[in-house]
Every structure is written in structure tokens, then in C-alpha cells.
Subunit: 196 residues, 2 copies
């Protein structure tokens, strides 16, 4: 069975790929709006880990809608959620039997409720799978420790391909570089460099 | 890392074992109250699938508490939930780094909320993992189809080792065999016979 996994090059989505590869032919899907080249970081990690890789082109209008939402809210959560749902819908339209993401039990964003999962499945005739949603933070950290080589750092400096990078780029261009700090609190991000 | 998985010999817990075995040393834990020998069905499946197997002895008082609850409610859900929580607590007291079960996204019973999971983890210093909680019914069915040899039949006739068998036995002894039908609606159960 062919499965498309939303992939950032971070530890969660890499671990999800390893878990799913037992049962599915996994193709990593790195979503991007064509704004920056950050998707190439995910491609590097994909090459290191040996998984098939594809770009998942998203609608740039959704990026601007997400940025509007982030400005309005003053924080990124709902904007990022919007992009994630759009990415799942886009992946579900491709020729996969199942689509998946790396959301964990303790994640606050993005999240996919049971009703949203069922709706995605019914409308597109695919399975939606969140293989890490039954794993807490500590369990994920322990598995990562055993399985992956990881670089950790502040979210602005780590070279990975999550949605934030391109949304930050839009805000920097339209509102100036200082506006980023207003909307995106600093937090640790990870970039996987290899599988052990 | 050593992981104890609550195990009935059914398709969900067998699939959970296969998923987790990529990352953990899995020992199947079949909970029982010492009332019937149904745990032996799970041992047969464990032997067929090649996983380590242990009995998990539960407190018979909890079985009677569960039966009282089922009589009071007129349906088994809350009684079974009670037994499942007791089984998780008992497994968490053993020498495992993690405990797990085969609950799926669409299951209504047993369920383990995020708060219950966190509480179990904090009190016992273990990880709690529900590897199938990010998989819907269709996804599980497709994986089972590809991976396992399964026998399906009405819940009273299938030889597996879920909590129901012993609770039914108590009710049959105390209230007569006809009382079982009052509390336990007929539903399909599965028993795994082999891994493909």
C-alpha cells in the first residue's frame, strides 16, 4: 500500500516514516508554497534516510490567508493549523492509499480531530494515519535518542522545512524582519541528519 | 527498551505488537483473573507469532467490581473500562520501560484519555503507548488483511482472551447463563491464528 507522509525533515516526521515503513511503501511529501527553498533541507534528510521524496506544491493563497490569520491573532497556531489542513487535503488528492503526518499525542498544533480525520477519509477515499498520536513526548524523545542523529536549535536557525519558514519569509518581506519575533515565539526545532 | 503490551490474541493487539517490535523488545501481557483458562488462547497466538508471552495476574476483586457495574448499567462498557485501567496499572508496576495496548482511534471502549495516559506515566515512570490510536477502522482492517490470518465470529464463540470471557463466566455462574445475553450484545470478535 502506498502512503504519502507529510514531511519536514524534523524528528517527529522522520520517526513516523520509520514506524510506517514496516507496513507501507512510504513516500515523503514536503509541502511548500514556492516562496523559499527550505524544502531542500527535507530532501537532504530524505536522501540520508533512504526514503522516496516528493515536493507537495501548496496554493500560495493559503500562505497569505495563514499570515493574515497570524497577524490577526498575534500568534501562529491557527495559521499553521490552516496550512496543515490544506497540506493534508492536497496530499489526499494524490494517488495514495493512505496519507499520514507526524503529529504526537502531546502536540497542540497542528492537530487533527477524529471528526476531521473521518471527513478527510470519506471525501478522498484514503486512510488518514497519525502513527505518533499514541506516543507522548518522552516516548518520542527516547525513540529519537535510540534511532536518529539530530541537530537541535532555535526555530529561526534550524534548516528544516516546516510551514513556519515560508510564513516567516512572507512576514519579513511585508512587515519587516522585526515583525517575526512579535508573532513567532522562539522554540527549539530539530533537523534529522541521519538514521543510526 | 522493554515494552509490555496488553494482549488478547485479537487482531488489534497483534497488529500493535508488530508495529512496536520495530523499536521495542515486546513482551505480550495477557491479563486474567484466574477465573477461566481463556488466557491460553492468547498464549497459542503468541506462540504462532513468535513474541514473548507472560500472564498478567489481576485482582479478582476488580472482576467482581466490574460485574457489579455491568449489572447496574445494563451494558458492559464501564465495567470493561474499569478492568482495562486496572490491567494497565498492573502492567506499569512490572519492570518495563513502556506499557502499551491495542486501542484504535475509533474504539469506544476501552479508551485512555490524554490525562489518564499522562497520569499513568508520571506515577509509574513508564511511557504509555497506544500505537493504533492514530489508525482508523479501515486502515486497521487493511493492514490486518495484508498481515495476519484471522478467525472471525460472534463474541461468545471465538476463543480469545479479552476481559469479556471471565466477566461473562462470573455472570453465568452467579446469575445463570441467560443473563449474559442481557448485558453483552452479540458482536464480532477476532482471533489471530498466524502472521503471514
Amino acid at each position: 500500500m502506498r502512503l504519502g507522509l507529510l514531511y519536514s525533515g524534523g524528528k517527529d516526521s522522520t520517526l513516523a516514516a520509520l514506524l510506517l515503513s514496516e507496513f507501507y511503501d512510504v513516500t515523503l511529501q514536503t509541502a511548500h508554497f514556492g516562496i523559499t527553498d527550505d524544502w531542500k533541507h527535507a530532501r537532504s534528510t530524505a536522501e540520508a534516510t533512504g526514503f522516496d521524496f516528493e515536493r507537495l506544491e501548496l496554493d500560495p493563497d493559503v500562505a497569505h490567508e495563514a499570515v493574515d490569520r497570524i497577524r490577526e491573532d498575534g500568534f501562529p497556531r491557527n495559521g499553521i493549523q490552516l496550512v496543515h489542513q490544506h497540506a493534508l487535503e492536497t496530499a489526499a488528492e494524490r494517488e495514495f492509499d493512505a496519507v499520514a503526518d507526524g503529529t504526537r499525542r502531546d502536540d497542540r498544533v497542528p492537530t487533527v480531530s477524529r471528526a476531521q480525520a473521518q471527513s478527510l477519509e470519506d471525501r478522498h477515499g484514503v486512510d488518514y494515519i497519525a502513527p505518533l498520536s499514541g506516543f507522548g513526548r518522552t516516548a518520542v524523545d527516547r525513540l529519537v535518542e535510540e534511532t536518529l542523529d539530530v541537530t537541535v536549535g532555535p526555530s529561526g536557525q534550524i534548516t528544516r522545512a516546516d510551514y513556519e519558514a515560508e510564513l516567516r519569509a512572507i512576514i519579513a518581506e511585508e512587515d519587516g524582519i522585526d515583525a517575526i519575533g512579535e508573532y513567532f515565539p522562539d522554540h527549539e526545532q530539530t533537523h534529522v541528519t541521519d538514521v543510526r
